[in-house]
Symmetry: C3
Subunit: 269 residues, 3 copies
């Protein structure tokens, strides 16, 4: 049976109710759309966390219209944009870097246009709830077949500002991108960065990790189950990021890592 | 492509799992329905918060069957009701005032009937989970085309008890309706009430606000971005209510407003 | 209008975003499926809570493919399984007892097969996110019509380990299964166990309850509303379990029951 329902996802820092209002706007304008709330619980105003979530999640969602809204600049002149990707998705949201890492995972930016055309906004646009009044209507109209170029002028979308991993003197220094709900840290480096710093790391290799306020010793492992419950490990998570976790526990609680911004890794002597 | 799937929304104070059970009941009885969870995280037993959410959200959802359940009286003789609105929606829930403000926004109450007909309940009705056993089946059967009048006797639904804003001696005293997840207060007054108290307020006008345990000075603004991050403002939120917020922060945390019931506003001398 | 969309539910301890990624995988593989998130907020690693939720909820969901994932053993050799039930559902998840109590409510286990066939996994299987890479693809393919036997070898699924209620010397000792978000305890006993311990209990009968660190007196009632707000009661909840609750309040807060593992009930002299 062919399935032609357009697919629309929503990821926001609004909480359940405001996100559902956005879903309601999509359902009203595009009643045939299949709407998935990817997240309504991004940490408020945390553009980086939202960007990492979209980058991680969207490759697993159907080709569709993906709306991402973490928007500290609502009410200021930052642009709303729609970005068409190489895979055929359209990403809709504020032009603050939120959407770019995900676009990179979806075949890159093909074209981007500002959301300016009042025909594709709600009749009345509030100053604070652009998710409802601008982003969701644009997403719904695109799901209905409106061409991205009809939304407004072409734009060059802004990149997300994330510090790159740094290698020096046998250390790898990486930013903490976010902490998931299990208290595991996701770090801004991938397997290649690890290899560039330390060569080919065998599972079980011991590492020292230091941060602003503490230090810990742990092993690099392929799986959680390779360390005892309660023990920390460094590993490559399911989306390819370096992660610091505790088997069946919380790394932030167990190691006092809450609030850590940057970690430095070094092989234990 | 015409889309004829009936639309059903659910807003509850049950949490995710119990609300999803209600959604499951709707899907079982009305498999063609498009079901949206508007919220599963209304503060438990807070009828006023739920009523304000429905009033704010439902105008943005498709015409459909909207189930609202915040029901401190479950297990007592309060009536379950279905309310048909001028827009063509049917609101389903307990008759405790929860649904009335939303009905007012949807063209008013056309007719209301008690949910009495056992044919439109689950075969076994528990004493505590009327969301699953009475409200969701009723919503699903209405979505399937059952006439509201077949559900039970006509009733006159109860109004929600909210104190009105009061104007006296150059002050406007307003109830706190609820606090959103960003820590912003939504107040029980609209732009007209503000104008009645203070005349036409220019953006940037300074106001003093006092409550049971504190006081603050802030400005009336059209947008969050008009004040520096961390600074408070009074504004008109996206659904037309007066709001007290802090730009990129939490008003309850920054000003110590947690638990405030009533605010009094006065223009700064 | 006939509705032939297959139904898929998801219940996990992953939080919203990771669960939505699983939903995205289902939508990608089975675009016609109707996907419901039953819960994304099971307490992390709490297999018993997840099992009780599935047992309580699934009878109210449409016949379909129900995915339950609470998986402390991810990354170890525990089996992933699909269990066909007497009602015609297929339950998909880790073979750690999570799915068995629900299968018992859905007509029992008809057959169970390991999820081994790489054709029904994502091309790349991570060591940590089997929800995305193994369970969701299997659920989607089953929803598309793949026979359970094509997934892998037949297996005998493991049972959930829950202590049974015990009767001795006029007392009933029961395990605490979980605490719901209202702070009410769900206990591992049903009406029959209560009758076996105490005979036919009339509403209003007074009982003493003791646990590791405290004691309380309460009455057995049919409904919350039978006791004053703030008063505790013992009752039979809407899924047939014995429950300990406080009318319009939290039993764990009011009685200091947080962390209680086992309760002993006795009729007050």
């Amino acid at each position: 049976m062919p399935e032609t329902r357009p697919f629309v996802s929503l990821a926001t820092d609004f909480g359940a109710a405001y996100t559902a209002i956005c879903a309601g706007v999509v359902h009203t304008i595009a009643p045939a759309a299949n709407v998935l709330v990817l997240s309504d619980e991004i940490t408020p105003f945390d553009v980086r966390e939202g960007a990492m979530l979209l980058r991680q999640a969207l490759p697993y969602l159907p080709v569709g219209v993906h709306t991402g809204i973490v928007d500290p600049g609502v009410g200021t002149p930052r642009l709303p944009v729609a970005i068409e990707t190489g895979r055929g998705d359209v990403l809709v949201g504020p032009d603050n870097g939120l959407l770019l890492p995900a676009a990179g995972k979806l075949g890159g930016v093909v074209r981007a246009h500002a959301l300016e055309n009042p025909a594709y906004r709600l009749p009345e646009v509030s100053t604070s709830f652009h998710g409802r009044d601008i982003f969701s209507p644009a997403a719904a109209h695109i799901a209905n077949g409106v061409d991205v170029a009809d939304l407004g002028a072409p734009v060059e979308p802004l990149a997300l500002d994330v510090p790159p991993p740094m290698i020096a003197d046998g250390t790898l220094t990486v930013p903490v991108l976010y902490t998931d709900r299990f208290g595991s840290l996701v770090l801004g480096a991938e397997r290649d960065d690890l290899a560039a710093a330390f060569g080919d790391l065998a599972p079980g290799t011991r590492l020292d990790v230091t941060w602003e306020t503490g230090t810990a010793r742990l092993s690099f492992e392929e799986t959680f189950g390779s360390v005892a419950p309660g023990e920390p490990l460094l590993w490559i998570d399911s989306s390819g990021w370096l992660g610091l976790a505790v088997n069946q526990g919380s790394a932030t609680d167990a190691l006092g890592l809450t609030g850590a911004d940057t970690l430095t890794l070094r092989k234990t002597d």
